[in-house]
């Protein structure tokens, strides 16, 4: 067999390639994919698929990251918004509650025989030895020393110091406080002494008086500070002693620990 020369081989290749190109151009005319392209595509497509797949994945990851960041930011903004709305809601609820309390105080104020003003509690006692509250009304609006202070539940205490814009109220539970009281049913009179917490005791109730647990304790008006008939608390126990007076323990009606608004009864008569 005759060996092909190199010139011949090159020519063969060129011819084959030419033909192939020709066939290919003809194949185009029949509306089919050129074979070269098809082969090229067949060779390239797996690589392209892999590449595109990788790029898509990267792109997806990138977009996902961007989206996540945006979503995170959005989430953060939404959380802030939600917190703001919650705060607003809480503040509205508080306002509604406050309006309710103030409304009750207003009604109480209107029913009282003495002029009164509403005050807010703005602080507690600065030491552990006393039970007092600071209120936001003072001499400017007629709050003076010894004005009685009440809440919707009952007697709270009396003003002991007053400045122009604020006043210090000695709570009825203070160990140094005292108030003239009487028992609703038995009409026995005594002096209320604070016990430091929500409890208090009544001194000078004779052993011959019949005191029942649960009986209402009202102000007697004899101390010239608290008007007569205000609710102070309820009798918890009455223990007779060998002496002439019995030990009467009471619980204070007003929720002293949770005071927010109070009514200060002015000294001057209602005009």
């Amino acid at each position: 067999m005759k060996q092909l020369s190199s010139k011949e081989l090159i020519l063969l290749i060129i011819a084959l390639f030419g033909h192939f190109v020709l066939i290919s151009t003809q194949a185009t005319r029949v509306q089919t994919t050129p074979l070269l392209r098809s082969w090229a595509m067949d060779v390239a497509s797996p690589m392209l698929k892999s590449l595109v797949g990788s790029l898509t994945s990267v792109s997806k990851i990138w977009h996902g990251y961007i989206d996540l960041r945006e979503a995170r930011q959005e989430n953060l903004l939404l959380k802030i918004k939600l917190a703001e709305y919650q705060q607003t809601l809480i503040s509205y609820e508080e306002k509604i509650k406050e309006l309710g309390r103030l409304h009750v105080l207003d009604e109480l104020q209107a029913n009282l025989e003495v002029p009164a003003i509403i005050a807010r509690v703005i602080g507690g006692d600065s030491s552990q030895w006393y039970n007092s509250r600071i209120i936001d009304q003072g001499l400017d609006v007629g709050v003076t020393k010894d004005c009685a202070v009440i809440s919707v539940d009952g007697v709270v205490g009396r003003v002991v110091h007053a400045s122009k814009k604020s006043a210090v109220v000695q709570l009825i539970t203070d160990a140094d406080s005292g108030a003239g009281v009487l028992l609703e049913t038995s009409r026995a009179q005594g002096v209320l002494k604070g016990g430091g917490k929500r409890e208090a005791s009544i001194d000078y109730i004779g052993t011959n008086e019949k005191v029942v647990a649960g009986e209402k304790v009202l102000t007697s008006g004899l101390d010239q500070i608290y008007p007569k008939g205000l609710l102070v608390g309820y009798v918890v126990s009455a223990v007779p002693t060998k002496q002439i007076f019995q030990n009467v323990e009471i619980t204070i009606a007003a929720n002293i620990q949770k005071l927010e608004e109070v009514l200060v009864l002015k000294k001057e008569p209602r005009s």
Binding site: V121, D125, S126, S127, V160, V168
Partner: protein, 163 residues
Amino acid sequence: MVNFLRSFSVLLIILLMVPLQVVLTWYFPRLAMLDLPMIAVIYLTIAKESLFWTIFSGSAIGFLQDSLSLSALGMNGFTKISIGCLAYLANSIFAIDRVMTRFGLLFISSILATLLFLLLRIMVLNRNEVIEGGRLLMSGIVNALVGLPLFYLFDKIVRPPNE
């Protein structure tokens, strides 16, 4: 000028301890045993190492504290100045710059301040008082525990960074 501003800011913070105490005791009645003004006076005493500061701050804070309380004017001032003087003496003997010495000083000062206040109420105001040991100890521990971080905070404000 910087020193003046530092001193002024410390004085302001220390004076703010009284309103803070008032608000705290209102919201958290159990914290009534905490005596922030006393802690402030003790700090000022050992930081400034001057009796002038002890007296000045003790009087100012005590007056403010009494004004917002039922106590007779001067009760807290007296107590604060006395305790401040004791802290001043202690500071001249021991170096009150370690955690344990500070804890000890605050604990003992708190107990002494309570006893002194009660003594004043009994002797001067003719009140009957019962000394509750448990409450006394608890108040000492609470004041010492709260005082330590406060001292650290004051240190950051009062002392220049290079000290």
